[in-house]
Symmetry: C2
Subunit: 362 residues, 2 copies
């Protein structure tokens, strides 16, 4: 088992990475010294395979779990879903020492995390991410949230989990499209932080796509290490942490204007990363060759890298980006790379340049 | 102007107490170095008198406020109201450096505070409490939240304000019933923390009920000092802070079973405090004479001290108390006083004793 520690003082926690962790969920939770009652939140896709083993593992360890199944897909990340979770937590009489287990991908993790952050003003949270994307990104770092019709993740809270369990075995039942989407975030870590890791991905991509545990485990661990390093320096995103959003400003906008339906998050982010790379060429001296490598690797991972937008869609996209959480004084700011392995945040990009990019990017 | 500092490290803030502060709102906010856009959240009752001066003060200081009027009354403290606030914040393009001003009583403060705590994962918040209860209690300390059908404040967040402005002038337009309700919390501070303050209240009650600024200012300041002292020792209520909930377990239960309509919060708390005093006689040696003084002072303040419950209502009350945030392992725990001026938290009261009390208390 690989263990990555996220050092955040009193709120420090471990990310454990191994095959078969779901069946050890109860034992792992028992180490945290929490109350007996808990809620196990999942969706129908994940639940079909893993709700039973997770539930049984909790029961065997002496816990009293309520199983809550929320709808699948990004549209479930709503205040309405949160409200129905709250109702269930109240009915199961969860107390302040009770806890919430999020068993699923990014949507379940963000929603269940938000519910845990806000029920009784905060319950302990255990993340059991079941997609590659959730394992390397959304389950770590404490960001939780739901979407509004106006934009993605506009409502949320910072709420660190007490434990993250990445079960490698679940990746075998992950649909290929989801695996590819997760790779968009994996590749991002190489671009923003670690050129050698990017090289390793260029080399090992075939084995990763074959889901070889021996290749995946160190890749996931490295992503978690990078995220832990960044988050521990800037937990609430007052600066550095924003680099984790490379490609996300445009990506979130794309998700919003397609009503969270057309793209998986990772797919939108892949398109956003190529766009961010082009902006980086223009505004932070990223070599064109690096953009080419980034584009090539994303393509090899089976991800989209361009989008064709009509003029009205382009306007909607620009408007949606205005709602990005990192907009300041109405100016959209970007994470830009100066080379593969190094990124910085805070570059305002003038609206005309952005519009030009979105036109040429079609 | 009296200033009470709430010492919470990087999250420290001032409570300012004086007449006429609403017209200085803009200037006071300008000192906090926040963004230009803000939301001014109020209800129709308060808004009728104070929305315009508050709005104009913000505008004059260069801010761009959106006025959001939420319904009046406890039923407005809902996820539905929060959602409509979020929509307005998105439409007004609030950013992370934008801020929220809560102009109103406890309901507005709790709701606007929760909205500020969760929009974009947290916006700066300025509290402008316009009831006595909000000035001495709910605006200070960072508790925010909304109600669920299952219980009061079941959903919420800890989110400290950046500034609290207590304008004494607004107390002149406060309905008498609201002023009396606020006194329930004022008296509570004497019971749990400061016997001399309790004595002062016994002496000065007539002038307080006449709303004499010279009497009210030091009373409000002392309540804020006590709350600041308690909160700074235990921000997220892992222990000591719970003493602030003297009378609240039964009080919240009464509010819940009457669907937040029959009692003002302070009225329910007054009944709850007398009940807690009787439990304190039984379980923590509170002298019967102290219970008599507590009951007498609450009565002189014009507050209810008893409630007549049918047997089914009693059962509903006991069930509602099971949802209290301080329940642990299904056991209802109480804040009990050992004498006027001293309280401790964590005393589990056996269900039969509680049922007996509620019967005799009728």
């Amino acid at each position: 088992m690989r263990i990555v520690r996220v050092p955040l003082g009193r709120r420090s926690y471990d990310i454990k990475i191994a095959s078969g962790l779901i069946s050890k969920l109860g034992v792992e939770c028992a180490r945290l010294k929490l109350g007996r009652r808990c809620a196990l939140i999942t969706d129908p896709h994940v639940g079909r395979w893993y709700a039973k083993p997770a539930y049984n593992s909790l029961s065997r360890a002496g816990f009293d779990p309520a199983l809550i199944v929320v709808p699948a897909g990004e549209t479930a990340k709503s205040l309405k879903s949160a409200q129905s979770c709250y109702r269930r937590l109240a009915a199961h009489r969860l107390e302040r020492h009770s806890f919430v287990v999020a068993l699923g991908g990014g949507v379940v993790g963000d929603l269940a995390g938000f519910v845990a952050a806000t029920y009784l003003r905060g319950l302990p949270l255990v993340q059991v991410p079941t997609t590659l994307l959730a394992q390397v990104d959304s389950s770590v770092g404490g960001k939780t949230g739901v979407n509004l019709p106006a934009g993605k993740n506009l409502v949320g809270a910072f709420h660190q989990p007490r434990l993250v369990l990445c079960d490698l075995a679940v990746l075998h039942t992950l649909p290929l499209r989801q695996l590819r989407a997760g790779l968009a975030e994996v590749i991002k870590y190489g671009i923003i932080y670690d050129a050698r890791f990017f090289q390793r991905l260029e080399r090992d991509l075939p084995q990763i796509l074959q889901r070889r545990a021996a290749t995946l485990a160190p890749v996931i661990a490295r992503c978690c290490e990078i995220k832990a390093a960044v988050v521990s320096q800037d937990e609430t995103e007052s600066g550095l942490r924003a680099i984790l959003n490379f490609g996300h400003t445009i990506g979130h906008g794309l998700e919003a204007i397609s009503h969270y339906g057309a793209y998986l998050h990772g797919e939108a982010i892949a398109i956003g990363q190529v766009a961010a790379a082009r902006l980086s060429e223009q505004f932070s001296s990223l070599p064109a060759a690096d953009t080419a490598r980034i584009t090539a690797l994303l393509k090899r991972a089976g991800l989209p890298t361009t989008v064709r937008l009509t003029a009205p869609a382009r306007r909607r996209l620009l408007a949606a980006m205005q709602l990005d959480k990192k907009v300041r004084n109405g100016e959209i700011r970007f994470v830009l790379a100066s080379r593969i392995g190094k990124a910085a945040w805070g570059r305002p990009v003038p609206a005309p340049d952005l519009a030009a990019l979105l036109t040429s990017h079609a």
